[in-house]
Subunit: 486 residues, 2 copies
Amino acid sequence: MDILVVKISSGMVLTKWNRKYYEIKETFMKNIITVICCVAFFTSNAQTFEKDSIMLRSIHTETLTKGKAYDWLHHICYQIGHRLSGSHGEKKMIEFLKTELEELNTDVKLQPVMVPHWVRGLPEYAYIQTAKNKITPVPILALGGSVATPASGIKGQVIEFKSLEDLEKADINSVIGKIVFLNGALPNEYIDAFDSYSACGSQRYSGARVAVNKGAIAVIVRSLSHKIDDHPHTGVMSYEDLPKSRHIPAAAISTKGADLLSTLLVLNPKLEFYFKQNCKTFDDVQSYNVIGEIKGSLYPDEIITFGAHLDSWDVGHGAHDDGAGVAQSLEVIRIFKSLNYKPKRTIRIVLFANEENGARGGQKYAEESKKNRENQIFALETDAGGFSPRGFNLRGEAQKIEKIKMWEKLFTPYYIHLFRKGYPGLDISPLQTENNVLAGLVPDSQRYFDHHHSETDVFDAVNKRELSLGAAAITSLIYLVDMYGL
Amino acid sequence: MDILVVKISSGMVLTKWNRKYYEIKETFMKNIITVICCVAFFTSNAQTFEKDSIMLRSIHTETLTKGKAYDWLHHICYQIGHRLSGSHGEKKMIEFLKTELEELNTDVKLQPVMVPHWVRGLPEYAYIQTAKNKITPVPILALGGSVATPASGIKGQVIEFKSLEDLEKADINSVIGKIVFLNGALPNEYIDAFDSYSACGSQRYSGARVAVNKGAIAVIVRSLSHKIDDHPHTGVMSYEDLPKSRHIPAAAISTKGADLLSTLLVLNPKLEFYFKQNCKTFDDVQSYNVIGEIKGSLYPDEIITFGAHLDSWDVGHGAHDDGAGVAQSLEVIRIFKSLNYKPKRTIRIVLFANEENGARGGQKYAEESKKNRENQIFALETDAGGFSPRGFNLRGEAQKIEKIKMWEKLFTPYYIHLFRKGYPGLDISPLQTENNVLAGLVPDSQRYFDHHHSETDVFDAVNKRELSLGAAAITSLIYLVDMYGL
C-alpha cells in the first residue's frame, strides 16, 4: 500500500491499476485496531482483548507465511494416497502421523481399535441395455459395506424412485425382482450444501435395506453431488438388521449416468441394467487412533481435544475428506510450538481411525476417555473440507456456547462470522457431556460435495491459503479456550 | 430433513450417516423466521421486513434452481472465448449480449466508445542462459500495452529487485544496459487476497517506466499470483509520460520461472535472459458499452446501474474476470423478469467495454450520464470473481451507506456478512457523486489471483452454485435499493 500512497500523493494520474486498489482497507494493523476498539466496547478489560487480537494475528501470520499444512497434505495425497480402514494406505498414514507428531515433540500414543475391513476389489462395471445389441456403459462405484454381485454380474429391469420415501410407499409387486434406482438429486435451493446432502443422504445409507424389503435384487443410487459429471461418489451404506442372506448389492452411479438412465427409462421402461462388483467384507482388523499430547502447565486435568480422521475412501486422495483436516490439526501443534505458546490446559490432537465406514475410532477414544474419567472440557473437529473458513458449529452447554460467541469479534478481521449452534462432527460427538462444548470448523460448503468420496477429491482441489486459514481459525479458537477455559 | 426426522423418531440406531447430519439447522424456512425476528427487533415495521426476507428467499431459490448464469458463462467461455478490446471475440461478445438482453425484453442500446487496440501477436518465448550451450526455457506473457522486442528478441544480463521501491533506490550504474527483473512476491500475510495484489501491483503497472529511467533495456515482472506454477499472469502496464522512443519491452514471468531465475542468479549473477515478443499497439478502434434498461414505474428518473465488463485478457476464457460478472448481471434481469418484479426505479444493466486495458467504457458511460444530467442514485459492479459471495464494498454518502448496512440482517441466512466501506470497482467509479452510493460484490478472494489474467481462468474454475449465489446477492441488494431508494 505504501507504494501507492507515495505515488498518489505525488500527483500522478490515477491509472487503471492503482485506481482499482488504492482505496481498499489498509492491511491487518488497521484490522487489529478495529477489533480492539469493538471489543473494548463490550468489556472493560481491553488489554486482554488487545493481547488476544495480537495473538490471533500472530497465529494467522505464522501459518500464512510459514505454514506446513499444505506440504503435509501433499505428502498425504501423493506419498500415502487413499487410506481406507485395513488398507496399506491406512498403515502408512498411521506411521507417518506418529513420526510427524514425534518430530513436533508431542507425547505420542497409538490407541488400538478394531475396525471394519471392506475391500472394493476389481473395478466395477455397469451398462444400460436398451436393445439386444445396444449397451451404454455408465460409471458406478460400489457403496462401502455392500456385498458383491455374483461373479457374472447382475442384470435386471429397473424401477426408478425420486426418494427413499417413494420407494417405501411403493407397491411390492412393482418392485419385486427388479433393480431399484434411487434417483433423488441433491436439492439446489439450500444455501449450505450440507443441508442438501442431508436431504437425500438416506437413499445411499438405507436404500438397500428398504429395497430388499420390497423384493429388489439390487440397488443403484444417484451420487450425492450437485455437479453433473462422470464421477460416481461412494460412501457408507448399511443393511442394518437384515440377515446376511438378504443382502443385495448396492452401488452409486455418477450424476450424468443417473440422468441418462432416467431419460432412457422414460423412452423404454423395459430396459435392463447390468453391473458387476466384487467387493468384500473381511473380518475386522487392528487399527489405531494416533494421539499426541502436550500436558497443560496450569490445569493439566482439563483436556482440549481436537483433530480429524486419518482414514479416507478408497478413491481419489481423500484430500478434502479429510487429509485437509489432518494437515490442519498437525498445523495447530506446529503453530503453538513455533510461537512458543505453552498451553495452560492439556492439548490433545487425535487423528481418528475409521470415520468413513464405522466411526470406531471416535467411539473408542470416547470410551477410553470415560473409563479414565477425563475432563474433556472442549473438543473440536475439522472434517468439512479445506475451503475458506466461515465459522464454527457449536454444541453443548448453553452458557459456555455464549462465552465462545463473545469471542466472535476477535475473528471478524479473518472473515469468520458464523458462530452458531450446529453439528460439530462425527468423531468427537461421543465426547459430549452436559457440561462441555464441541465445535466443528465450518468452511465454505459449496464445492465440498463436488469432490466428496469421489476420484476428484485430490490435492489440486485444495487451495493452500484456504487450508492455512482453516488451520488458523481452529488454532485461534483452541488458544482462546485454553487461555480462558469454559 | 424429513426423512431423518421420521427415521430418528422411529427409534432407529443412529448410524454414521444420520448422526452426522441430523442436527444441522432445518432448511431455509427456519432462516427466514430468524431473519424476521432479528429484523423486527430493529424496526417496528416487521411486515415490510418479512416481505423482504421472503423476496430475498425467492431470489435465491429462483437462481439456485432455475438459474441461467452458468449456461451464459459456458457460452461466453466456449462459444466466444477471450475478448480483448478490438478482437474478434469482443465483437462476438457485444452481439451476444445485445441478443440476450433483447431476449430478456430490455430496451437495449449500444453506446459507442473508442478503445485501445493492443495485440499480442505470436506466442512469446523466453529462456535463461547460464552457460554457452545451457538454456532453460521459462513461460512468459507480454504485458498489455508493452512494445515488442526486436524481431530477433532481446538478450541481456539481469538485475533482480524485490520491489519497485528497491529499483527506484538503485544506483543507475548497476542497472544500465540490463534487463530489470522485478521479483516482488505477493505477500502471504494479508487475509484478503486483493490486499496482497495491491501490495505489489505497481511493479507490473509502472515497472517499465521506472526501469527505463535507470537505463534498463527491458523488464521482466513476477506474476501477481500466490500460486507457484507455470502460468504467467498478464495485465495492463503503462509507460505513462515516457516518449515512444524510450519504451522498453515488458513481460510477466510465471511464479515458478521467477523462482528459478532468482535461484540461478544467486549461483551465476552473470547469466543472461533472452525473450522475444511481437505484440503491437494499433490505432484505437470502435467498441460499445452494451446497455439494457427497464424503466422505473414510479421513479423513472432515479437510476440504478449495475454490471460488469464485457472484455477480458487474451488468455484463458476470462471466466472469473469477468465472464462471471457478466453472467451474474444478465441473471439479475432474468430473476426480476421471472419473479415478475416491476422495478419502481430505472434499472440499468451496463456491460462495459475495455475495463482491462484502458477503462474507457466506464469513463464513457459516466460522461454520457453526466451530459444527460442523469440521477445515478446507486451503482453496483461485479468484477472480483465468481466465488462464494461474502458481502459488499460500499463507497459514497455516509448516511446512505448506513441505510444499506441496516439491511445486512436480511442477508445473514445467505452467509453474507461483509457490509463495509471499500472500493466498489473500476467501471462504476466515475459515477460517484456526493450523494450516491457505489457498491462492489465481494466474493471469497482466496482463489481469484490463482487464475486472474492467466490461461487458467477458464470455465471449470467457476462453480455453478457459487456463481448463482453471487447473482442472488447482487439481485437482492438491487431489489432493496429499488424498493426503498437511497
